[in-house]
């Protein structure tokens, strides 16, 4: 009797394990965010930026279509660029994160524009990225001082429109 139960448990465990492996990765496992940060700014400054690296570990292209934050009125996807010696900032409808790739949001390039802080920004900023699939990725960005350094350059891995 015990042997039968044990065999049943072993087979059952194998079935459950196989099912678990076959299941798709969750949204958070497919698309994740590293090194999210917000440069500290004085309370009176109405517009902040958020930088991060977005990693897509899945075999499917993903796309960020919008972002929001409980700490700000509104969040927009933006790209800075220099054209003919003039700084421009473009509003992006989406940012593609290609399969098994990563896209850096960094100074002088892609960034999230955080508009209208609801309170004085303290240690962390909460941001939610919405994917085209309807899923969302929660981000906790650390607030810190800027470091000086080079511009990000203009080589943003993923294509974006």
């Amino acid at each position: 009797m015990i042997r039968v139960v044990r065999r049943f448990l072993v087979i059952g465990g194998m079935v459950v394990g196989a099912a678990f492996c076959a299941a798709q990765l969750s949204a958070a496992e497919r698309v994740s965010v590293e090194n999210a940060w917000v440069p500290w700014a004085p309370p009176t400054v109405a517009v902040h930026a958020a930088y991060m690296t977005i990693v897509n570990r899945s075999n499917e292209d993903q796309s960020i279509v919008s972002a929001e934050s409980p700490d700000y009125q509104r969040v927009e996807l933006h790209a800075s660029s220099v054209k003919n010696g003039v700084n421009e900032m473009r509003d992006l409808a989406q940012v593609a994160i290609p399969a098994n790739n990563r896209v850096a949001f960094e100074p002088g390039g892609l960034h999230l524009m955080l508009i209208g802080p609801k309170q004085v920004v303290a240690d962390r900023v909460r941001i939610v990225l919405r994917l085209q699939s309807g899923e969302q990725v929660e981000v906790s960005a650390v607030v810190r001082r800027r470091d000086a350094g080079s511009h990000a350059g203009h080589d943003h891995h993923g294509a974006y429109q």
């Binding site: 109405a46 080079s150 511009h151």
Partner: protein, 208 residues
């Protein structure tokens, strides 16, 4: 294109070539004018409410960048780099040669309320200046810079495109050089220190 500007461009290109040949060490996209150009008169206010005119540029070197306070990415990044540039210059030149850093805010309605806070977060001595649009444009013209304000969208939001270069103004109040991004602190400080040294040598030569 005005004759003055095309002349400026020719001079700028020649000097850029010379500068490139003689200063290959510094990885800076900078242009030194052969003949510094006086900036035209303008009247702005600084972030303390004091008048700021072309005469305010006399007596010290100045680094001037155009920007606006609703610029969350490039403008703060440039200001943070200029803070480092001035720190690096402090190791290379005498204190009386250290340049003033001036943020020419080109979006006055939105800039005025937070201009001081925005600018001094990078250094307490940095100065924000702004004013009427036509005075801003006059000042920009003198620094060979532009600002273009986009049409507001349905929500009334708009952005401002502006020159990326930093204008270098000499103690006589003349545009002496321009530096394009990136503003890597070490090389940019070296570029400026070299410009100041040349100027000092030229002036010493003149007085002999």
């Amino acid at each position: 294109m005005t004759a003055k500007r095309s002349q400026f461009l020719v001079v700028a290109m020649v000097t850029a070539a010379v500068a490139w040949a003689t200063m290959a060490v510094a990885r800076v996209d900078g242009i030194i004018l052969d003949r510094p150009a006086f900036v035209q008169a303008f009247t702005l206010d600084d972030h303390n409410g004091k008048p700021f005119t072309a005469d305010s540029l006399r007596g010290h070197w100045s680094l001037i960048l155009a920007g606006f306070t609703n610029c969350p990415d490039v403008c703060p990044f440039t200001l943070a780099n200029l803070e480092q540039v001035v720190a690096e210059l402090g190791l290379r030149v005498r204190p009386d040669h250290l340049p003033a850093v001036i943020f020419l805010a080109v979006d006055p309605d939105r800039d005025r309320p937070s201009l001081k806070d925005y600018v001094i977060q990078f250094h307490p001595d940095f100065l924000g200046v702004t004013g009427a649009i036509d005075e801003i444009d006059r000042a920009l013209n003198g620094f060979d810079a532009v600002a273009v304000r986009s049409k507001p969208d349905a929500r009334g939001n708009y952005s401002v495109s502006h020159s990326a270069a930093v204008a270098v103004v000499d103690p006589q109040g003349r545009l002496a050089a321009k530096i394009n991004p990136p503003f890597d602190p070490g090389p940019t400080a070296e570029f400026l220190a070299d410009l100041f040294r040349r100027r000092d040598r030229a002036r010493t030569g003149e007085s002999r």
